[in-house]
């Protein structure tokens, strides 16, 4: 066992064994290191002012991702390369093209959001040589600017992608090999790490097996994957957590495999990883993921965390339930597999036993010729929690009748839940306007939604019904599928 984590911060190797489990990267940077270029605007993952890049070794090599330093815990950084805005400009003070573009297009006004935008754009610049407008918008989703009106920032992104001078001046491209080597050497000491400060422990297990053993001994420990939920417990609700087990580095939990019938997604797969893989497989699901949080949240947050968290408005359960997914839970002693919908017992209560963790979710591929769609409705189009999220999975039989149908919604009940009455009203009937119109009212038997500030109960009920109609129209020969339907027009 070792007692310190090691990572690289900009150009410097850091070893730390003296932090609490909820110390954030942002506080570390700003308060301890006086790297104040990284800003704090909200401390809850919403504004992106705190954006930094974290580089980690993956199967595809060293990969840098934008993250929100305000909800990223120090303990989750072992074996990574943290890059802040201070690292970008050349040694002679010359601006990086990303920075220069923001100056030239007037992408900075008060400047407080600017370092965050610089880092988001830099993340895009590193990973995407020829971003489309949609790529740019995706990369900027998690950054708020109250001054500029965004347009100059989007322009800067377009401009900089057309202007890629030699890579030598870029600090990460220049030092790529050395950084890789350092990270490999950190990873080669595959020990479980326990850092203790004032009696509070951060545990970084060496492997999934070690994780399951530790969890058996510490069943009350808080598991932290991407921290996009847990981070808020700390910064918003001021909760103290002890001990914390960090699992976001466990690549064993991060694989996506697929065969003819099933796509298996490891619990630790981030939204961003899933997006890359699922867009081709189940395009509607890929597009949904693009509307979860901003890029930073998608880089951090995991599929397993979204399920395990058990929120009634999490976006991942409804589509996976509609697809008939199964969840595998694991302990140090073994595994069990349940239908995903059975995992959600009641508000705030899931079927997870002591010492168990979510290992993976197996998603049956939509059958050939079937129709699958998921819709997210929220007040704000991007970076907003769903008012409701509905998923439909339909297979018609040879006569055009409803052969199989699964419908699941989030935001309509205390848990993500199937619309079994609606399914029943549709099953075996002709897939027609009449059938659908008649089935709409069955939603009232399935769900008694609540009123909150995201939407009223009446709105939710009506919108759910309208989603069924919309799904019908799309499947029954409406010319194009409605993409992110509020965004449809170019």
């Amino acid at each position: 066992m070792s007692e310190a984590i090691r990572f690289i911060l900009n150009g410097e190797e850091v070893t730390r064994g003296d932090f609490g489990p909820t110390e954030t990267l942002l506080d570390y940077l700003r308060l301890r290191r006086r790297l104040t270029g990284t800003k704090e605007g909200c401390a809850e993952g919403d504004c992106g002012a705190c954006t930094v890049l974290v580089g980690r070794l993956t199967e595809q090599g060293l990969r840098y991702e934008s993250v929100n330093a305000c909800i990223r815990f120090l303990g989750s950084l072992h074996g990574t390369h943290v890059v802040t805005v201070e690292h970008l400009a050349g040694r002679d003070g010359a601006l990086h093209p990303v920075q220069q573009a923001l100056v030239d297009t007037h992408g900075s006004q008060c400047g407080f959001c600017t370092p965050g935008f610089v880092m988001s754009l830099y993340g895009l610049w590193l990973s995407n040589q020829a971003p489309t407008r949609a790529d740019i918008e995706s990369a900027l989703q998690g950054n708020l600017c109250r001054c500029t009106g965004y347009e100059p920032i989007v322009k800067a992104a377009e401009q900089v992608s057309q202007n890629r001078p030699s890579s030598l001046f870029d600090p990460l491209e220049r030092d790529h090999i050395q950084i890789m080597a350092k990270l490999w050497s950190i990873h080669s000491e595959a020990d479980t790490i326990v850092v203790e400060k004032d009696g509070a422990r951060s545990i970084v297990p060496a492997s999934v097996a070690a994780f399951s053993d530790i969890l058996a001994e510490e069943p009350d420990a808080t598991i932290v994957a991407g921290a996009t939920d847990v981070g808020l417990w700390v910064t918003k609700q001021m909760r103290l957590l002890n001990p914390v087990i960090f699992i976001n580095h466990l690549t064993e939990l991060q694989s996506v495999t697929s065969d003819e019938t099933t796509i298996t997604i490891g619990a630790g797969v981030s939204y961003a990883q899933a997006f890359d893989l699922l867009t081709d497989e189940i395009s509607s699901l890929g597009r949904l993921i693009d509307r979860i949080g901003g890029q930073q949240v998608r880089n951090m947050g995991t599929i397993g965390g979204n399920i395990a968290n058990g929120s009634p408005i999490g976006d991942i359960p409804p589509p996976l339930i509609a697809l008939g997914a199964e969840l595998t839970l694991r302990t140090h002693a073994g595994r069990r597999t349940i239908a995903l919908e059975d995992y959600f017992l009641a508000y705030g209560k899931q079927d997870r036993l002591q010492g168990e963790f979510v290992e993976k979710v197996c998603v049956p591929r939509p059958a050939e010729g079937s129709h699958f769609a998921v819709y997210k409705i929220s007040k704000r189009r991007d970076e907003d929690i769903s008012a409701l999220c509905g998923a439909f999975n339909l297979t018609l039989d040879a006569e055009g009748k409803v052969g199989k149908i699964r419908i699941a919604f989030g935001g309509m009940a205390a848990t993500p839940k199937r619309a079994k009455h609606v399914e029943e009203a549709l099953l075996g009937k002709e897939w027609s306007w009449e059938t659908v119109s008649a089935a709409r009212n069955a939603f009232d038997e399935d769900y008694t939604p609540l009123t909150d500030w995201r939407a009223t109960a009446e709105y939710r009920s009506l919108a759910a019904k309208n989603l069924l109609t919309r799904f019908f129209l799309e499947t029954a020969g409406a010319p194009t599928e409605l993409r992110r339907f509020e965004l449809e027009e170019a």
Partner: protein, 763 residues
């Protein structure tokens, strides 16, 4: 004095006034090198954390701070028990009660989220932990939580805000066409991306405050008065401000708490207001309601406007969000009556948020005008042009410049308005309903005096120095351009120092008045420096120009030479060296000559008492704009997407189009947020702001913003300011929300009269 000819603004990217010059502070901001208030490297710092009330009305009976005091690292807990020894400071206009004690941590609770205690500890973490241990017991009374509270009442009429001419009631009653409707706007918040907070340090009786400030001199006065020390003992330092929008122009109670704690403890204190606390640490835009009645002839000639509005304020102080501010200005109307009431409720005192008054006022009036256009079946553009005001009906004075007609016609042309079909629900794009709407806006020209210092240094570089601030609007940049133009040097050669109350005085960066005021002062000081330099060049015994016989010289591109002639041509550095000077310094202000003493300075730099309104002279001076908006509405789900905006502005001369366009766009997107997203939700039992964070108080993201085309139709207005500008910052938001509401009506046939236009209002 040399008179410079103004150049028309254009597309040149050079550093002269009117050029699209990139912002001077861009490099610092993109590298993280711009240091904001909470990042000042002050040694020996301790951290203060606020404890806010959890009831909306009542009294603090007791504060049990025992556990907090015993917590690790805690130095002190301040509660209503502690007399911090402060005095009430003057209001914005310099009025001040004598020797009245000020208790920033009061015993009487008048709103939920009011600061009632503060914990100071060695580290932020310790202070935060200890703050959770402070136990407050209250005696609660029944709060009034908002305009709709049954106990709120009708409010108190504010006589000063009643405007009228003709006989509006009678003319309305007699009109052929009459419409009447009530419009409402919710509490809205500034949400600058930089949360508020400060770092304070005492050295003896001298106080330094690093705090984001839209007005360093005004805030310095406030601190001096709180602590009863000479104004010169206070220094406010604010070189960068992470967005203000009206919220950073004064010291708030937490500022006083931090400074008092620092004095008591003998250590510098940092107090960072958390994002949730920002929703009650200072006020946003007050909720408003207004009823508008318009009478018109059948062919759309306005006969009467009767306007009755109200806004909420706190029980502590009056802050009217004037619902009638734009009503008398936009149209020609022979009979008008507006009144505004103030309704005290248990909230933090509301404050100025981008275009205070004009903004909700325009929402009402511009919605009503389009309602009228449907009532008589006339195109809303035509209706607006038909009732174009050729002069200011309120003051009876002529406009200085008013290019609103041009804004409307040019905007319409670019937008393609003529292709609109007037009938609601008549335009579609696939499954979506399409709507087009217009909203006009206005903001007054406010004039104030300011002061600036110009230094020409031995190396030929130039320094502009003033206590004015730059919160992103571009003061650094336009001052460099102003000095560069007058002094004939490239703008890159100009260094600008701002944001420090120990520098020459300047008025507040608010009401769009700073640019006009401070460019005037810089222009004057730079002209004096230029004249002095030329004088020296002509007369100094060591100057190579002495014997040229020239009676003046020109400076251009950083060189000084004889006009049109053969003869020496020197760089400024060469000249400075020849005449043996290492600096030329001129400090000038724009106060009139007879009123330029220390008292006048104090009044002008630290209060708003000397600010001149739009009709102070013989003319009526305002900025104007017209927004053309397209929305697409998915009726099945009530989702609205603003898909296109064209906005034309008359803001007079534009000093730097790159900066001004960004101000306008920023205003427009705030208007989009106001129309579709932004709304402070208040828990009706406890008067608490429920959505007090950035995840739930939704501001627009990039995806909410379409392409926004902004057009300048202004002409230089030298009555409004020395350089001819009228002010760009505030007006951009005015008229956006009604344009969107009008477009939504055109798309759906549903008139939403209460903002924001959320999903459920359209389904």
């Amino acid at each position: 004095m040399t008179i410079m000819e103004t150049r028309k603004h254009g597309d040149a990217a050079d550093g002269m006034v009117g050029g699209r010059f990139s912002r001077l502070d861009g490099k610092l901001k993109t590298t993280g090198g711009a240091t904001y208030a909470l990042e000042q490297p002050v040694k020996n710092l301790v951290h203060a954390v606020l404890v806010q009330s959890t009831i909306a009305a009542g009294r603090v009976v007791a504060v049990d701070a025992g556990k907090a005091k015993a917590a690790p690292g805690v130095l002190s807990v301040f509660t209503p028990e502690d007399d911090l020894g402060l005095l009430v400071a003057s209001d914005w206009f310099g009025n001040r009660p004598d020797n009245q004690p000020f208790h920033p941590l009061p015993r009487e609770v008048s709103f939920n989220g009011q600061a009632i205690a503060a914990v100071v500890a060695e580290t932020l973490e310790q202070a935060t932990e200890a703050a959770k241990l402070v136990k407050v017991s209250y005696e609660e009374t029944q709060p009034v939580t908002g305009l709709d509270d049954p106990n709120a009442g009708e409010g108190r009429l504010v006589d000063m805000l009643s405007v009228g001419w003709g006989d509006a009631e009678a003319a309305y009653a007699a009109a052929d066409i009459r419409i009447e409707a009530e419009y409402r706007t919710p509490r809205e918040y500034h949400v600058p991306i930089e949360p508020h907070g400060l770092t304070v340090k005492w050295e003896g009786d001298f106080l330094t405050v690093w705090e984001p400030s839209q007005w360093t001199h005004g805030m310095a006065r406030t601190y001096a008065e709180w602590f009863n020390i000479p104004a010169d003992n206070v220094r406010i330092v604010s070189p960068f401000i992470g967005g203000g929008f009206g919220s950073k122009a004064m010291g708030y109670t937490y500022s006083a708490v931090a400074a008092a704690a620092a004095r008591k403890l003998g250590r510098p204190v940092k107090l960072a207001v958390t994002r949730p606390q920002t929703f009650t640490a200072y006020g946003g835009r007050a909720a408003t309601r207004q009823t508008i009645r318009i009478g018109a002839t059948k062919d759309g000639v306005l006969q009467a406007i009767v306007h009755r509005g109200a806004s909420e304020t706190s029980v502590l102080a009056d802050f009217p969000e004037q619902t009638g501010a734009a009503t008398p200005l936009l149209y020609a109307v022979p009979n008008l009556s507006t009144q505004h009431r103030l309704v005290p409720v248990n909230t933090v005192t509301p404050g100025a948020l981008r275009a205070p008054g004009k903004n909700p006022s325009a929402f009402g009036l511009e919605s009503a005008i389009e309602e009228l256009s449907y009532a008589i079946g006339m195109d809303p553009l035509e209706l607006r042009l038909r009732n174009y005001a050729d002069h200011d009906y309120q003051s009876g004075k002529p406009w200085s410049t008013r290019q609103l007609r041009e804004a409307l016609t040019v905007g319409a042309e670019v937008f393609g308005w003529s292709k609109r079909s007037h009938e609601p629900r008549s335009m579609r794009d696939g499954r979506q309903l399409v709507g087009w709407g217009i909203g006009c806006g206005t903001f007054p020209v406010l004039k104030a005096a300011s002061e600036a210092l110009i230094r020409i240094l031995g190396d030929g570089s130039v320094e502009v120095v003033s206590g004015a601030i730059d919160m992103g609007q571009g003061t650094y940049t336009i001052l460099a351009q102003t000095a560069a133009e007058v002094l004939g040097v490239p703008a890159e050669q100009v260094d600008v120092k701002l944001g420090d109350s120990s520098l020459p005085g300047a008025t507040v960066a608010g009401g769009s008045m700073l640019a006009g005021a401070i460019t005037g002062a810089v222009h004057k000081a730079a002209t004096a420096a230029r004249d002095e330099l030329i004088g020296l060049a002509l007369n100094d015994s060591n100057s190579p120009f002495r014997d040229t016989g020239a009676n003046t010289l020109v400076i251009a591109d950083g060189r000084i030479s004889v006009p049109r002639g053969e003869g020496p041509s020197l760089t400024l550095a060469e000249l400075m060296s020849a005449i043996g000077r290492d600096r030329i310094e001129t400090q000038r202000n724009t106060l009139p000559e007879g009123a330029n003493g220390p008292e006048d300075h104090k009044r002008s730099w630290t209060t708003m008492a000397n600010i001149e309104g739009p009709t102070a002279g013989d003319l009526s001076m305002h900025s104007w704009c017209a927004h053309f908006v397209e929305v697409k509405v998915d009726e099945d789900f009530g989702t609205v997407r603003v898909s296109r905006v064209v906005s034309a502005f008359d803001c007079g001369r534009i000093y730097n189009p790159k900066l001004a366009e960004s101000q306008w766009r920023g205003g427009i997107i705030m208007g989009i947020g106001q129309a579709l997203l932004e709304e402070g939700l208040i828990d009706e039992r406890f008067g608490r702001v429920i959505n007090n964070n950035m995840g739930d108080y939704l501001v627009p993201t990039n995806a909410d913003i379409p392409h926004i085309q902004v057009i300048s139709v202004g002409i230089p207005d030298h009555d409004a300011s020395v350089l001819g500008g009228k002010g760009v910052g505030e007006v951009g938001i005015v008229g956006v929300a009604p344009a969107i509401a009008n477009a939504v009506f055109h798309a759906t046939g549903k008139r939403v009269r209460d903002l924001p236009i959320t999903l459920e209002k359209l389904i």
